[in-house]
Structure formats: C-alpha cells, structure tokens
Amino acid sequence: MALPFFSKRNEITPPADIEAASLRSDRFRLEREVDWQRLDAVVTALEKGRPRRIADEDVLDLPVLYRKATSSLAVARETSLDAATLDYLESLVRRAWFQIYGPRIGLIGWLRRFLGGGWSAAVRGIWLDICIALFLMVAGSVVGWLLVARDSDWYYSLVPGERSGGRVPGASAEALRETLATQDHGQGLTIFATFLFSNNTGVAILAFALGFAFGIPTMLLLVYNMVSLGAMMWVFAQAGLQWEFSAWLAVHGTTELLAILLAGGAGIHVGRSMAFPGNRPILAAAATHGTRGAEVMAGCTIMLIIAALLEGYVRQLVGSPATRATVGGVMLAFWLLYFMLPRAPVEKG
C-alpha cells in the first residue's frame, strides 16, 4: 500500500503534496493525518502493553493528540463524505478512548489497593447478605444434627458415601478417632492441598455465580453443605469426640467456612439486587452489586488458598486438639480483625 507508512521506528512521513488534492475535505484530512498516525502509533503500543516504546514527546502530546483526533472526527462527520477516513477516525478514536479511559492501575496496583482496604470495605458493604448467609449456614447445620439425631438413617442420604470415609453412625470411637489422626509423613500433601484449594474455590465460585438466579440456588447450596456438616458433627458427638472433631475442623474450617460464608453472601447480594433493585433500573443495580460481589470473591480465593494450606499441611501434621483449636482460633481472630477494623477510605478505581 502506498500509504504514508511508518516503519518499526515510528517514522511518520507527512503527505507529499497537500495542495494537489482537489477536494477540500481531502485537504482537511491530509493536513491532520500526521497527528492521527502519531496517536495511532501510541495507541498501538499501549494495546500491545509496551508503553516504554513510546517516545517521551508522544506521551506528553497524548492528550492533545487525542483531543485533535476527536475534534477531527466531529468536523469530518459534518464536512466529509470519505467513508474510509470516517471509518478510520471512528476506529482510532474508539481505540484511543479505550486506552485513555481504560483501567488506570495494573493488576499489581489493583491488588495493593484491594488488600489495603478495598476488600474489607466490600465485605462490610454486604453485611446484610452475610448475616442472611450466616443464618442459613447455622440453620443448615442445626437441621442436619436434628435430622440425624431423630433417625440415624438420614445420615446416609445426607453425607455421600465417598465423603464419609468410615465416619458413620454407630462406628466405634476408636474408628472415628482414626479418621481424625495425622499422617506421620509429609508426602503427597502438596497435591492434597492443591486439590483442596481448586475444589473448594470451585464450590465458592459456584455459590457466587448461582446468585444470579435471585440468590435461591446459592441459599440451597449453603444449606445443603451445612446439613452434612451438622450430621457428621452428631456422629462424633455420639462417640464423645465433639471436642476433637471441632478442633480438627477448626484448623482450616474457620478460614474455609468464612470464605464460603462470604461467597454465599456475595451470591445473595447479587440475587437480592435482581429481586429487589429499588429505585434503580434492574441492570444498573445488578451491575453495582455484581462488581462489589466480585471483589469479595477475589478475596475468597485468597482465603481458600490459605485454608487449603492449613487443611493439607497443618491438620495432617499437627495432632493435638489443643494446638489445632489454637491455630483455628487465631485465624478466625485474624480475619475478623482484618474485616472489621476501619481503615482510611480508599477511592474507587
């Protein structure tokens, strides 16, 4: 193509002979073409994620170049009928707009702001939904306990066979104690921890994503998961092992259950905005609540990594119930402090 072409070094040759153009609108275009192509080069470098390639003077001129291109587009729409130029300008301005008004901070900057207060602010922002989720989880485990206490056959329908692993009603205290024991070696624990993390995060993401349907599936998921926990709790309590079981659960459970609580809360938050959008249009309400829920969820992933490490390593290697309970308690205190301590407000990005 015989365009005024720019090579790798971003050299833009001005059009040879502006006066040769017979049409007024073509002269308009030729006079401004160099600026458009400078903007084009900057935008291309930004799109490729290589802002260092841009020359200093181009960076300084970027706002001017952008405004020139937008005003060129506005003028060209009213004076030029050259479809190719209009297409080019529209696409250029749109690309430039996406870059200039794109996310201002990178992933690292976002993460810093997120951990430094954005996350806990989002969590505090959905407190009502967290309370609903907490109620459902407590209710679920109580229901599980009561069902199995009345008729222990319920246990088999509440806890799938592969999950029980010998923890069945009527099992001897010895056999139950065995399921809580540690491993004497650390082999394979990394795989176990990784597996736990990816599995639990999958469940948490599901709890959030299902919130889209007015939050009802999220609530069912929360109740269902807690019913089987309540049922298992009853089995251990029958054998007089409630303290050992609670400690065994608390090591990672305080972190993991809290993460599931937050994920469920985020799902309910989204569902609630769809069912009761208030004065706003339903789409706007869903979008605000959805992004806040997503921030909570991003944090849940971090919590579940920590939970998986605790479950995969600490629980398998530390045997004494007292130590286990201490670890769990410390983690719980840490999370509660992290979420509840007020911090300097952060501006939204």
Binding site: A2, R29, R94, G188, I191, T194, T201, A287, G290
Partner: protein, 300 residues
C-alpha cells in the same frame, strides 16, 4: 446475494449503539454478534485444550504418565507434576479468561481473532464508563455456570438422571440461552458485571481519493442536474468500488451511471470516468453539507 447482504446490513443496524465520551463526542459502537461471541469462546476452549494436549504429550515423552498418579503416593518430581497439573486445570478454568480480559485489549485470544472486546456498559444507557478490574472478575466468575458446568453436565451424562436431570438441564439452559433474550446480546455474566462485548475494529487509513486520482474536472464536466441524481449512500458505494478496483464491477457501474445521468459514454476508460464522477459528486454533496443540506441517498 443482495438479500443476504441486506439482511446482514439490517442486523448490523440493529446492533449499532452510540455512547457519549466525556468530551461530548458520540462514539458509535457495534455490539458483537452472538455468532462472533460463540466462535471466540470455542476458539479459546480449543486453545486451552491444545495447550493441555501438548503438555501431556511432552510429559509422556519425558516418561511421566499422569494416569498412574495416585494422590498421596506421589513423591519427588511426580508430586510437583501433580501440583502443577491441578493448578493448571484450575487456572485454565478460572484464570485464562480473567488474565487476558484484564489486559489492555480487554480480549482473550479468541476474541481478538474475531475482532471483539469487552467494554463497560454505559450506566444510563448513554455516558461511557471505564472498565474496572472488578467488572472483569465478576463477568468471568459467572462464566463458570454458563460454560463449564453445562459442558461437564453434558459430558457426564447428567441428562440421564431422570426428573432431577431434566430440571438441571432446563435450569442451565436458561443461562446458556440468556444472550438470545435481550437486545444487547448480554450473557448473565455481562449483566452482573455491567459490561458488554463490542466490535473492536482496527481500520487502516487508506489513500485520499482525490490525491490518488489526478484532477480531471476540465475534461469531464458534470452539471448540477446530473449530480443531483445520487446521494451519500451511492457515493460511498462508488468509493468502495473504486477502492476495490475490480474491472468488471467498474465497467458495470460506469454503464449504470451514464445511463442514469443520460450520457452517451463510450466506455473508453471506466476508472477515469468513475473517478471524475466521484470527485464531482463528492464536491457537490460536501458543498451542500456546508450549508446544512444533506442527501442520504437517491430516494431523498
């Protein structure tokens, strides 16, 4: 042929939107078609699949077979491979889309190939807003129930599970078919995140028409009545014919124009005739524009 072209243009008109930038400029956007979005998704899934395929082949050549891997028994390098694999599966399910859509192009490789990208939906239907990381995270978390769970469900033969299976099937179908029931082609994740997917065209600046062609206004003189026949739409069709430069098309168009304006044009040089007519018509129509008179097409 022209019916198909017409239908495509109608569809593109239906997908055209305008957003207002902070500068007060209305910026045209085109919503990505459902076909393009489905194609992009399939491409992305294909890339993920191929990546895993290559990885498994490399491991097999290195003498490591994943199928003999037993949890808890693996030691040393096998443990590392197992961890790597679980993490990779996790990341390809949740991380792949997230990573690419958080980049400066806001598009996964599949989306890029099909020329579409993610953008923030205007809040009040008009004013453009910026895309934030939280939006991208939200739309990709919901992707799980829209893409992965239905596909696992179908692969796992979940539809054979009787009434519960049917209920689950209908339920998941609601998510999958969601884009067909709103005019912005939003999927559930877009709705929750406040985003939409638009076309991201990357047009090159083409030559100026009146520089490429010499000025022949003294050889071909068109009168005002002759130029009043056509409008802007016909001018732009003529422009695309000239830029395309196909001889048959040019001679056909030249015949049609000369018939319409009542010239006895011998067909000496189609390009020359068309370029002169184009320049004259454009000067005429643009002159009208400066006085606020516009003529959209030959019927107006």
């Amino acid at each position: 042929m022209s019916a198909v072209a017409n239908a495509m243009r109608l569809d593109a008109d239906k997908r055209a939107r305008e957003v207002l930038t902070p500068e007060g400029l209305s910026l045209p956007m085109t919503i990505a078609s459902r076909g393009a979005r489905a194609g992009a998704l399939l491409l992305d899934l294909l890339f993920i699949f191929l990546g895993f395929f290559v990885l498994i082949m490399i491991l097999a050549f290195a003498g490591l077979s994943l199928f003999t891997l037993e949890m808890g028994e693996a030691t040393g390098p096998m443990e590392a491979v197992g961890v790597l694999f679980i993490l990779l599966i996790f990341l390809s399910r949740y991380g792949y889309f997230l990573w690419f859509e958080l980049g400066p192009r806001a598009a996964t490789p599949g989306k890029r190939l099909l020329g579409i990208r993610v953008a923030a939906r205007p809040v009040d239907g008009r004013t453009a807003t910026r895309l934030t990381p939280a939006m991208v995270i939200a739309r990709n978390l919901v992707r799980d129930v829209e893409v992965f769970i239905p596909s696992f469900f179908l692969i796992g033969g979940g539809e054979q599970a009787g009434v519960a299976g049917w209920a689950a099937f209908v339920w998941l179908a609601v998510f999958v078919l969601f884009p067909f029931f709103n005019r912005d082609n939003l999927r559930a994740g877009d709705l929750v995140a406040g985003t939409w997917v638009v076309e991201a065209s990357h047009a090159k600046l083409k030559d100026a028409m009146s520089v490429a062609a010499p000025d022949r206004s003294s050889e071909y003189r068109f009168g005002a009545a002759e130029l009043a026949v056509y409008g802007e739409h016909e001018l732009q069709v003529l422009e695309s014919v000239l830029r395309h430069g196909d001889d048959n098309a040019m001679s056909e168009v030249a015949q049609a124009i000369s018939r319409k304006i009542g010239w006895q044009y011998g067909g000496a040089d189609d390009r020359e005739f068309l370029e002169s007519f184009y320049a004259a018509l454009r000067a005429h129509l643009e002159g009208g524009m400066r006085f606020g008179k516009r003529k959209a097409d030959k019927y107006s």
